[in-house]
């Protein structure tokens, strides 16, 4: 029923935990990025793990949970602000079963579990997206927006549209797992 989504075997690196990362994605500062497992980073995506808080030591800049999908051409950039005169980047935390559509720019502070973000979205700095929320394609979410659980946001600026059904969690979980299964290598 569900047609496989093929990718070229040569293009993707598969990790021990089943993450599939395109060689055509730009992963800056990989030591500061955590992938939970079975997460797919598509071709052309840019993940800025290099934009870390100033100061010594190791810091997690961007963490992604399990069964996430970063679509083609997405930009994941940690949020920044000047606080008491000091410019700093702040970490970005993303939960499990989060799909982000192609060409979206994400500067959120936290994204919960079972969240779906459409294509061509801009998620402003320090946005907080709670569990099971969804953002329609082409939505522009202004900085510091809070998106409550099970809310559907759309438009520019992104506004609350409706409450999502009670079964959203199960649906998104099934969809993200299914996508991972459908994402198959093609030798060539």
């Amino acid at each position: 029923m569900d047609a496989p989504v093929y990718y070229s075997k040569a293009e993707f690196i598969e990790t021990d935990t089943g993450n599939k990362v395109s060689r055509r994605a730009t992963i800056a500062g990989p030591q500061n990025i955590i992938l939970g497992g079975k997460t797919i980073i598509s071709s052309g995506a840019i993940i800025r793990g290099d934009l870390r808080r100033t100061g010594p030591g190791h810091a997690v800049v961007i963490s992604l949970g399990r069964y996430c999908l970063i679509g083609e051409g997405c930009v994941m950039r940690p949020p920044y602000k000047t606080y008491r005169g000091n410019f700093n980047y702040y970490p970005m935390k993303i939960g499990d079963h989060v799909h982000i559509g192609a060409n979206s720019v994400i500067e959120a502070a936290t994204i919960g579990n079972h969240v779906i973000i459409g294509k061509n979205c801009v998620i402003g700095k320090f946005t907080i997206i709670k569990d099971c929320a969804q953002i329609a394609d082409n939505t522009v979410v202004p900085p510091n927006t809070v998106i409550p659980a099970l809310a559907m946001f759309s438009g520019s600026p992104g506004c609350f549209i409706e409450d999502l059904p009670e079964s959203t969690q199960e649906m998104v979980e099934a969809q993200t797992k299914q996508y991972y299964t459908r994402f198959q290598p093609l030798d060539r």
Binding site: M1, T82, K119, P142, V146, A151, E166
Partner: protein
């Protein structure tokens, strides 16, 4: 457009008719819903939808600060957040509280944020459209308690005061009527009785002379009139302290001032849009420059009940941002999930494609008149017991010339659908398949109900292939894929859309202990094994038919 399937809730059909309207009637769409939005009442053994369930608020919260507001304060705070949450009057974005500090050089557009200690006066600033409250003369000495200051302004409006006085006036009456009715009446009846007498009293009090408006006189409804006189005896007459004419001066519109304003506008944005105005509690001015920041309206969590037996179908956890439920009886846990596909549209060479709910599928489904197409139905069993499914197409009572405009010929036989005629099994749902991460999809050998999957086999009409199109095509885990076929008439137009009756039998010989209230995917029958049947309607939409004239022009897909 990808083919779709929706499930029927019989709540809109007049009792005792339980069959859905024909799929081409515009009213049909109101009766069909995606499976994931439906509920299931075990007590009634029936599907319920958001249209028919009764909804009760179980908690309030602010969608911005996520504070859970106790219901006691919701009323006093007029259903809006009483903390520091405001939305932009122009674009509805949440406003930030900012200080009047000299702008920071590093910072991109926008004044200093609240986190820097800040110098007064403080004002509200929109991160999206750059509106700020200082423009309309709203500034604050301290960055806290802003909602209270704004609410004071809201509450001092003449309309608000009048509303408060009306409430006060009705308060004693409401109290006594609710006391007397609740003492000896069942809850449902008392509710309707209570509201009808209260509304009658309210309309009596409100039916005072308004200059320029002739009084509404319901001659025909004698009963309502009698109610009114009864209530008039109990209620002292209400005297407004505000002259009606005064409201016009407050900008309720239509006076010379508005005309003057409208004749002198230079850009359309000077006039406040409807969506910028209708969220206001009271009449507001036409001018964009008069718009004020709004305290953010609260959201609610709701419980849902079966409209017939009053059993709870949905009960969320108390915590506002929890996505868990104490009770969740959704139809997806009881009815097989069905998906539809047109195999001729599959494009295997497609590369990575992000699948989002709002995205429009870029693959084009083209169904041409005068041809026949196979289609696939994949049924997924959510029950811990195997099921036997029987599908049939609902007879369409196509009356000739329904609207007189379309040619009769096309109306009568637009298309014919073939489905497997014999019942077929769908294996039981097993937890392991879900947790073993999907890779191990394997076929099931035997059918536990002892019935062979005998599908009616037919050949492709064009004789191009010898593959089976109608019947069971594939069985793996708890999914069975069956094939159907549709033959499109030569003059057909519109959508290939038909109502499909799904009937499934299930039995439970080893009743599993019910885990908790949160939707047990198994029908537990306490007694000896028993075979039960449940029947429901769906509507299948395979997509629009490309008429023949156009199809000649269309290039090959």
């Amino acid at each position: 457009m990808a083919p779709t399937i929706q499930y029927y809730c019989p709540c809109l059909s007049g009792y005792p008719i339980q069959t859905p309207p024909p799929p081409h009637m515009p009213s049909s769409s109101a009766s069909f819903h995606p499976l994931h939005s439906l509920f299931f009442c075990e007590e009634c053994d029936a599907v319920r939808c958001n249209r028919c369930v009764s909804v009760e608020v179980s908690g309030y919260y602010c969608p911005n600060c996520l504070f859970e507001v106790p219901s006691a304060s919701v009323r006093a705070e007029k259903n809006r957040c009483a903390r520091n949450c405001f939305s932009c009057p122009i674009c509805r974005t949440t406003l930030s509280v900012v200080a009047s500090d000299p702008p920071n050089e590093d910072d991109l557009p926008g004044p200093a944020s609240i986190s820097t200690v800040g110098e007064p006066p403080f004002f509200l600033y929109c991160n999206h459209c750059r509106w700020d409250s200082a423009e309309v003369g709203i500034t604050f000495e301290k960055p806290t308690g802003l909602a209270a200051q704004l609410q004071k302004f809201e509450d001092s409006a003449a309309e608000s005061l009048e509303f408060e006085r009306l409430k006060e006036h009705f308060e004693p009456f409401l109290r006594t009527s609710s006391l007397s009715s609740s003492s000896h009446m069942p809850s449902l009846a008392s509710h309707s009785l209570h509201t009808s007498s209260v509304t009658a009293a309210a309309s009596a009090a409100l039916a005072r002379d308004i200059p320029g408006v002739s009084k509404y006189n319901p001659h025909t409804r004698s009963r309502a009139g009698r109610d009114r006189t009864v209530n008039k005896d109990e209620m002292p007459e209400y005297k407004s302290r505000v002259e009606m004419g005064l409201f016009n001066q407050l900008g309720s519109g239509g006076d010379e001032g508005d005309v003057d304003f409208m004749t002198h506008i230079e850009t359309a944005s000077e006039v406040a849009k409807l969506e910028q105005r209708w969220g206001n509690s009271w009449v507001s001015s036409l001018k964009t420059s008069d718009l004020r920041p709004l305290r953010i309206p609260l959201h609610s969590k709701v419980s849902k009940r079966c409209p017939t037996c009053r059993h709870i179908l949905i009960k969320p956890e108390q915590k506002a941002q929890s996505v868990r439920y104490k009770i969740k009886l959704v139809a997806a846990n009881y009815l097989p999930a069905i998906t539809v596909a047109l195999p001729h549209t599959h494009d295997v060479s497609r590369r990575i494609q992000s699948k989002t709910p709002a995205s429009t599928e870029d693959k084009q489904t083209i169904i041409m008149a005068g041809k026949s197409y196979p289609f696939h139905l994949a049924l997924t069993n959510p029950l811990y017991d195997p099921i036997q499914v029987r599908l049939s197409v609902q007879r369409m009572h196509v009356t000739a010339a329904t609207d007189g405009t379309a040619p009769d010929k096309a109306r009568r036989t637009p298309f014919a659908v073939s489905l497997p005629t014999s019942p077929f099994p769908v294996a039981a749902f097993a937890e392991a398949w879900e947790y073993d991460d999907d890779e191990d999809m394997f076929g099931l050998e035997d059918d536990e109900l002892g019935l062979e999957p005998v599908g009616k086999t037919s050949r492709d009409r064009d004789g191009r292939g010898k593959i089976k199109t109608v019947g069971v095509l594939e069985r793996r885990a708890n999914v069975t894929i069956v094939g159907g076929e549709v033959v499109i008439g030569k003059e057909a137009r519109g959508h290939v859309k038909f109502n499909m009756l799904v009937s499934y039998t299930y039995r439970s010989d080893d009743p599993l202990p019910s885990e908790d209230g949160a939707g047990t995917p198994s029908r537990v029958i306490a007694k000896a094994p028993e075979v039960k049947t449940f029947t429901f309607y769906t509507v299948v939409d395979l997509g629009p038919i490309t008429p023949r004239e156009e199809s000649k022009v269309e290039p090959e897909i």
